[in-house]
Symmetry: D2
Subunit: 320 residues, 4 copies
């Protein structure tokens, strides 16, 4: 018998029953320690460590997270000081604000074809749905907000030049829905960067507004600010829900610096073999100097909407 | 306002904290109702209904489930009468028996290359590992069992012709590990079909044995038996962990009958677009008469080792 | 015998030999007509029809297309008037310009760890690589170009407010590499939209420049322009290489209009089940009014770098 | 300038036009050398080398290859002595024989639901279809063949105990369709192993036959034979179309030996992260001693029906 082999921990089979807590489930995942469960448990450890070490935590939001039911968790993460910077697609803030102004995402819509949905003015996001009237509500509420922002912030030449973090802060200040993560971010002074702001319904609404008032996005202001935050961090942690622009934007915030992210978690179903950044391994990021070989890192290959509740609840349990 | 639209249920954002039970989590998944969480909740409902309606439940086992930590859950499912027929790859029974005879699956093995592992006589299954010595233990234990089975069951002409369900039953009767699903299946009279028995270490061990004693597999006996069980069921339910041979073998058990499976759950990461059966939609199975349009069906796109504990625990919770 | 059944075309097995042309291969794919080959053949038909009908063709570029060897095909598509509008991530233009200014993407770099690559100043993109010195070359060339653009286009108040299409046009005008798609786009008056311009090395370089000269991106100008082009098209066709921001940005260009895209092709490995837009079916886009039920559409599930050369060459063959 | 860096070959962008041959395309793929094209080119090199070195080539067939149009290529590979041993799922031989006896696979069947297909007695395989009548034709032809095999091969006690390679050889000898790979394999003395023979329509048909005549599968005979062939090979090469039982069965043929496969190619869309063998990396197989660190190996992540025609034609071109 090779005594060295005995030192390797066993894969302890996962035991569950209907009464155990998520916290206990995540412990079981950790004792099992391999495949998906092992990675979820590792994500909990890394996220807990990020918080314990007072890292500045950058959260990347891609995909249909709000229609997928992740809104409250994101808001909770902000309210519990478990995230300090958000970088998101325009879609995620659009869907958050839709709910904040009385619109909604629904399910169990029966349809025989997408054409039928079109005729009913219901838009489909896989098996979630949003009615056109929810977008109309968004328009009704956001245009006055844009007006107010314009009046309050325009420069002498009647031009509004605004960074997306300022824009999101101003919008957040006007919302009253305590479940909104845009509002929570305003309340907790968490900046929300939207690097492709124009690429969203919210962006199209701003374009509508801009037909009568000159509006420019201060992308360079955003870029300066995120680099400053990252550089000023004693430690920086990255938590990527999906890939896309948010993942790249967060990682590039330290690209012009000699610092790296101390820890990184990504949840994604994208594949590594196509060479795209969304599915790229976190190890690859070492070669770019975005993380380093000492960084704590894990990729969870899962539907985000399944893995995030587990990782978040498991992390809460460890902290309490 | 379209009143018809109001009747659609909202996607209720998932709320979690560190203390909630898995049962509560699955309720949250159900209230959210879309994407992966919606499908996990639906799987819980369908599995609960299968049990409530006293369906004969066929469990298909593919992939590296035992190295992935799923052994206890499978054993539990058998012991709690939540599965009545098992169809599996040879690998899953091989790995179960390895643990039953004192072998083990380990993790956290550091290695710089697979060549290094080869030199250390450690076999890798993604990030789980099994030492060659565990396979030697299997050999030490299984050969005497094969001898006993041969002596007890051989025909007059000194030939053993045995179905895989009889073979697994005989092996199960010789095991003492209460965590073994092969033993639990023996105890609870759950037949285990291994349609490609030869395609496994257990099969290679039987081949070794067969060098001195003629052994034939009675595949036709197996085929007759599974069709009889399926046909005699008042209701039949299918629960597929992965695809492969087990999925096809379970579904084909009613192919020569006018009956269909009343319900079906599959957990898989395989894709639908390649045309292979493993990733095929359950809806496609309607065209074949394996299920029908009234059958309750759901596909959960997930790492099995993440989704199964949730579905199983959620189902236990509903029953208690 | 059901005579109706006889009218269905057979799946004709694909025949190949070493001498047949891609054109013939695509014909074989069409006669086979199912799975991936059927979809590639359909993409060729749709792309050919787009061109024949004089559609305005919008090309979306996501993923690591230039490191993946797709640069010449994109440039060719522009030069042959087979694409009229480009929407891209910042990475794709960055990598194109790197090559245009003498940098390069390499392969077959041996490495034992990403840390070793970091020490060698080589950045990895799956199995392609780019040396830090290529990024330095980019910096050396792009800063003077930015200066020139600033001087030529700044407003009275010494502020440069520029849309990304103007920015890309100005950059393209300064390049001399006939293989560059940014240059080809300038030559052929094909606008290049970069909705998340800041999210790239090119964006970081502009930020560097902006430390001394105020620069604002006119995102609203871009948004107005792409909507105008889309609305003014007699027919609009979309060709998506990957998803992400480019897919959404192209599709939303007709969202405020009653027009739809007449045809759409997407090549992607992203999955539909996560609900994200990148993997969303084109059929889903009907519910949003981005395409309609008469639109010609196909999704090719493949590594883009395998499928695009086939689709492009097949389309060329049909036209000649 | 680091002179060492200059030695790395560049990623040469792929150039295509409508007239180039597949052979030229594969050369372009090789000059590009990364991502999917690089892997296809590598597969061509490895397959060519396998043939040149007179390896015994084991072909694994999983997935819906015949409905997917791959039948002629497989038959060609046999006829051109480019494959020497086949291991397959029962489905692939079933579908081959269906076509050999006058059945067919069709496409472009319009349907509004799978229930409608059921009513029309048309079975769906993603977007390929096979009518129930094709299965009836199979039954009409295979039962007399089984009778003949039984009469010709039964033992004294009126029992037929037959290995699957003998069974497939006997069936092949009775077919007249020169496009059939089962017939080609018979003609060229290529053994076809079907380790889960019972798991197929052909198996169910044998079960029907066995209701009146005792039939046993000699799985141990198969196991002995494949190990003997593998061990007797001067060099062994593996070519996996998909994973499943065929991949494992081929790889395990050298598990009890100190020899390894000198080269291995797999085409698959299955993922590595779930731990299942189908998606497992070929490198993992080094740890098991199935291949070794000197073996030439490549995994092509692609729909098989797209990649196989390219790899096969490219290999033909290199040989001519």
């Amino acid at each position: 018998m090779d005594s060295k082999k005995d030192k390797y921990p066993k894969v302890i089979p996962i035991d569950v029953n209907g009464n155990i807590s998520i916290a206990k489930l995540v412990e079981e995942f950790k004792s099992s320690g391999v495949f998906g469960p092992g990675r979820i448990a590792k994500a909990v450890d890394i996220y807990s460590k990020m918080i314990e070490e007072e890292s500045t935590i950058f959260l990347g939001l891609a995909g249909a997270l709000v229609p997928g039911g992740m809104r409250n968790i994101i808001t909770d993460m902000i309210n519990k000081n478990m995230v300090h910077v958000i970088v998101t697609t325009g879609a995620n803030v659009t869907h958050d604000i839709i709910e904040a102004v009385g619109g909604k995402h629904v399910r169990q819509v029966k349809y025989s074809s997408d054409q039928e949905l079109r005729e009913k003015a219901i838009d489909r996001i896989y098996d979630a749905f949003v009615a056109d009237e929810s977008f109309m509500k968004l328009e009704d509420h956001i245009q006055p907000i844009y007006s107010k922002i314009f009046e309050d912030n325009k420069e002498e030449n009647n031009v509004l030049a605004i960074s997306t973090i300022d824009l999101m802060r101003e919008i957040g200040s006007q919302l009253e829905d305590s479940s909104s993560f845009v509002k929570a971010a305003f309340d907790k002074k968490v900046p929300i960067f939207v690097p492709a702001f124009g690429d969203s319904i919210l962006g199209l609404q701003l374009w509508l507004f801009s037909q009568f008032n000159r509006v420019l996005i201060d992308d360079m202001g955003d870029l300066g600010e995120i680099q400053k935050i990252a550089n000023d961090s004693s430690k920086a942690g990255a938590f990527f829900l999906g890939g896309g622009v948010p993942k790249n934007y967060i990682f590039q915030s330290l690209l012009m610096s000699s610092k790296t992210f101390s820890s990184a978690i990504q949840i994604t179903m994208d594949r590594v073999e196509t060479g795209g950044l969304s599915g790229a391994s976190l190890s690859e990021a070492i070669s770019w100097g975005k993380v380093d070989s000492e960084s704590k890192m894990v990729t969870v290959v899962s539907d985000i909407t399944i893995a995030l509740p587990l990782i978040y609840a498991g992390t809460l349990a460890k902290r309490s």
